[in-house]
C-alpha cells in the first residue's frame, strides 16, 4: 500500500477517533444554515411573490404571462441575449491573442508585471469603471474631441447612451477577466506538448491550431460561460452607459422595483432571467463533458 496507499490513507478519515456525529455537523451547519436561510429561503419567497398579484396579493400567473405577451419585456430579453453574445465573442477574440502574446512573446521575468498591469483597472470600482467610459464617450468627451479636431467628423458622434457604449464597457471588463483565465491556461500547458509537436514536424501555425488551441479550448469555454453569466445579470454597465434608450433585463427588473414597487413582477422577471442562465449552464456543462470524454 506504499504510495498507492492513498486509497487506504484517505479512507480512515471516516473513522478518526473523534466525537463522531456531533463535531462534523457542528462545523458545517452554520454555513449550511446561512445558505438555506439567506439564499434558498429568499428564493422560495421570490417564487411565491412571483405568483401573486401586485394589487391585492391574489394567486396569479399573470406576472409570467405578461412577460410573454408584453413585447417590450420580450425585447429586453432579446436585447440582453444579443448584447451578451456580442460581448462574449468580442471579448474572447480580443483577449486570446493578448493572453498569447503575454504568455509567449513577453520575456519570462516581465510576465508577472505585464499581467498585473493588464488587469490593474479590474480592481477599480465597478461603478467608477462605467463612469470612466462615460467620460471617454461623452458628447464632448475625449474621443469626440479627438474625432472632431482631427477633422474626421465635423459633428460629435452620439456614443454615450447607446448599445455601442454598453458593449464597450462590458468588453473592457471581460477582456481583463478573460486575459487572466486564458493566460493561466496557456501557462499550464506543458512545453513538452509544443516540443513534441515541433519534433513530429508541425510548424508553429499547425502546432498552434492542432495542439495549443484545442488544449486551451475547455478553459476558454469556462471563461466564456463566466462572461455570459456575469454579463447577463449586470445592471450597472447598461444603466450608466446604455441609458434608458434600450432596456436590458436587469434594468427592467430594477425598474419594476424602483418606479412601481412591483415586487411580484420583478420576482417573476428575475426567475425568468435565472432560468435562461440555468439553461445556458446545462447546455454548456454537457458540451464541456463531451469535450473531456
Amino acid at each position: 500500500m506504499s504510495s498507492s496507499a492513498n486509497k487506504g490513507r484517505a479512507l480512515p478519515r471516516a473513522g478518526s477517533a473523534l466525537p463522531r456525529a456531533a463535531l462534523p455537523w457542528a462545523l458545517v451547519t452554520p454555513a449550511l444554515g446561512w445558505t438555506l436561510l439567506f439564499f434558498v429561503l429568499p428564493f422560495i419567497a421570490m417564487g411565491f411573490s412571483s405568483l401573486t398579484a401586485h394589487e391585492g396579493g391574489a394567486f396569479t400567473a399573470s406576472n409570467y404571462s405578461q412577460f410573454f405577451t408584453n413585447p417590450s419585456y420580450w425585447q429586453a430579453m432579446v436585447n440582453s441575449l444579443q448584447v451578451t453574445a456580442i460581448v462574449t465573442v468580442i471579448s474572447v477574440l480580443l483577449a486570446y491573442p493578448f493572453a498569447w502574446i503575454l504568455a509567449e512573446q513577453v520575456p519570462e521575468r516581465w510576465q508577472r508585471l505585464a499581467l498585473m498591469l493588464a488587469v490593474l483597472p479590474f480592481w477599480t470600482s465597478y461603478v467608477v469603471r462605467s463612469y470612466s467610459w462615460l467620460l471617454v464617450l461623452a458628447q464632448n468627451g475625449v474621443v469626440n474631441r479627438a474625432l472632431t479636431s482631427s477633422g474626421l467628423f465635423a459633428e460629435p458622434v452620439q456614443l454615450a447612451n447607446t448599445r455601442f457604449a454598453t458593449v464597450t464597457g462590458f468588453v473592457h471588463f471581460f477582456v481583463m477577466l478573460l486575459t487572466l483565465t486564458i493566460f493561466a491556461n496557456l501557462k499550464q500547458l506543458s512545453p513538452s506538448y509544443r516540443k513534441a509537436a515541433a519534433d513530429l514536424g508541425a510548424g508553429p501555425v499547425r502546432t498552434f491550431l492542432h495542439v495549443v488551441l484545442p488544449l486551451t479550448l475547455p478553459g476558454i469555454m469556462v471563461g466564456a460561460f463566466l462572461t455570459f453569466v456575469l454579463c447577463i445579470g449586470d445592471y450597472i454597465t447598461p444603466q450608466i452607459l446604455g441609458g434608458n434608450n434600450e432596456l436590458l433585463m436587469p434594468q427592467l427588473v430594477m425598474m419594476q422595483i424602483g418606479r412601481r414597487g412591483d415586487f411580484p413582477l420583478a420576482s417573476a422577471l428575475s426567475i425568468i432571467l435565472m432560468a435562461v442562465v440555468t439553461i445556458a449552464y446545462l447546455a454548456c456543462a454537457r458540451w464541456l463533458k463531451i469535450e473531456r470524454a
Binding site: 500500500m1 506504499s2 504510495s3 498507492s4 496507499a5 487506504g8 490513507r9 479512507l11 480512515p12 473513522g15 478518526s16 477517533a17 473523534l18
Partner: protein, 354 residues
C-alpha cells in the same frame, strides 16, 4: 512467559464491501523491530493504522501492555506514528516540531527545548533546531519526524513506509541508522514496507502479509530459508516453484513425483498428497549434475549480470511451464541458448504448505 507488548487478536476490517484484513492475529515483543512486509493492498498499512488508533477495526481487539486499546484515540495510546510524508508542521521550526508532543503534555519551555535538542542529537540533526522543515532534505525531514515521535517516549513506534520517499542510496543508509537508533532507545518499532531487502536488513521479526492475511512470520533468516507458503517464498526473495504428488513413503522419507522426475524429501507425507516445493536461486546447480537431486535439463533463456553475481533464467526441457531461477557466480560462463543439467541438494528443497 511475559505478556507481549502488543497483542493483536483476530482483527478483521472492511472498507465498505471490501475486506482488507481477514482474522489477523499478531504478538509484538518489547524492544523488537517488527517489519510488516507485503505488496500494495495486502492490508499492512491498514493494520498499522489500527495499531495507531486512526482506524477502528470492524472485528477483533488490540491490546497494548495488556490494556484493551481497540477504540482508544491515537493521542491516548502509547503509540506514535511516523507518517510516510513525514507530516512535519510546515509553519513551525524543527525544534518546535520536535517539542510539539511535549508541549501538548504541558511540559515547560526550557525542558521541552532541552529534550528536543537531545532527540535531534540522537538522530544526528542537532544543528537543525532553528531551521524550518522546507529547508531540510528528504532524509533530514525523515529524521526530524523520527525525533518528533521518539521524544514523547512511546512504548511502540509505528513507521509507515518511512523510507519510501527516499532514493535508493539514502534508503540503505537510513536503514542502518534506523536500526542503530532502535537499538539505542530500545523502543519497539513496527515498520511497514514493501521492500524485502529493507525487511531483511532491519527486522528482528518479519511478518509477511498478502491479501489481508499473515502468510508467514518469524526471524527474517527463518522466513527466507524456510518460507511457509508459496507467497512468502516468492515475495521475500525469489524461488523456483515445483509442484508434485507424493508417490511413496518409506523410512521417514517421501518420494514426490514432479514433471522433472522423482524427488526425495525427509519426513513422512501422506501418499497421494499434492505438494509444492521451492528452491532458492543460490541453491540451484546448473551445468554438471553435482547436486543429489536431478531436476532434468533446461534451456537458458536469459542471463542478467548483477555485479557480484549472475541471475540466470532457464526453462525446463521436460516441462516448459517450469521456470528455473538460479544465481551463479559472476565468473560463470553460461549463455542464453545453452542447454544445461539442473540439480540441487536434498536438504535445500523447501516444502511449502500450499
Amino acid at each position: 512467559m511475559t505478556a507481549p507488548l502488543v497483542d493483536i487478536s483476530s482483527i478483521s476490517h472492511r472498507f465498505g464491501q471490501h475486506t482488507v484484513l481477514k482474522d489477523v492475529s499478531l504478538q509484538i515483543e518489547p524492544g523488537s523491530y517488527t517489519i510488516l512486509l507485503g505488496p500494495s493492498g495486502s492490508g499492512k498499512t491498514t493494520l498499522l493504522s489500527i495499531l495507531g488508533g486512526f482506524v477502528t477495526p470492524s472485528e477483533g481487539k488490540v491490546f497494548i501492555r495488556g490494556e484493551d486499546c481497540t477504540s482508544v484515540p491515537p493521542a491516548k495510546r502509547p503509540t506514535t506514528t511516523v507518517f510516510q510524508d513525514y507530516a512535519l508542521f510546515p509553519h513551525m521550526s524543527v525544534g518546535s516540531n520536535v517539542g510539539f508532543g511535549l508541549r501538548m503534555q504541558g511540559v515547560d519551555g526550557a525542558t521541552r527545548a532541552a529534550k528536543a535538542r537531545d532527540a535531534l542529537a540522537l538522530v544526528g540533526l542537532a544543528a537543525a533546531f532553528d531551521k524550518k522543515p522546507h529547508q531540510l532534505s528528504g532524509g533530514q525531514r525523515q529524521r526530524v519526524a523520527l525525533a518528533r515521535a521518539l521524544v514523547i517516549e512511546p512504548a511502540v513506534l509505528l513507521l509507515d513506509e518511512p523510507l519510501g520517499a527516499l532514493d535508493l542510496k539514502l534508503r540503505r543508509q537510513m536503514q542502518d541508522e534506523l536500526k542503530a537508533i532502535q537499538k539505542r532507545v530500545g523502543t519497539a518499532f513496527i515498520h511497514v514496507t514493501h521492500d524485502q531487502e529493507e525487511a531483511m536488513a532491519l527486522a528482528d521479526h518479519c511478518v509477511v502479509m498478502n491479501d489481508g492475511r499473515i502468510e508467514d512470520e518469524g526471524p527474517p533468516e527463518r522466513v527466507y530459508h524456510r518460507p511457509a507458503t508459496r507467497f512468502s517464498a516468492t515475495f521475500m526473495g525469489e524461488s523456483t516453484i515445483l509442484a508434485g504428488t507424493v508417490t511413496e513413503t518409506k523410512d521417514r522419507t517421501s518420494t514426490v513425483a514432479t514433471p522433472v522426475g522423482p524427488v526425495s524429501l525427509p519426513g513422512a507425507l501422506p501418499v497421494g498428497a499434492a505438494v509444492v516445493l521451492a528452491i532458492r536461486p543460490e541453491h540451484l546447480v546448473l551445468g554438471e549434475a553435482r547436486g543429489g537431486v536431478r531436476l532434468g535439463t533446461a534451456g537458458v533463456s536469459d542471463v542478467v549480470f548483477q555485479g557480484s553475481f549472475k541471475r540466470v533464467l532457464a526453462v525446463s526441457v521436460e516441462d516448459p511451464s517450469l521456470h528455473f531461477i538460479a544465481r551463479l557466480p559472476a565468473t560463470a560462463t553460461v549463455r542464453p541458448g545453452d542447454t544445461v543439467a539442473v540439480s540441487c541438494d536434498t536438504d535445500q528443497i523447501i516444502l511449502l504448505t500450499d
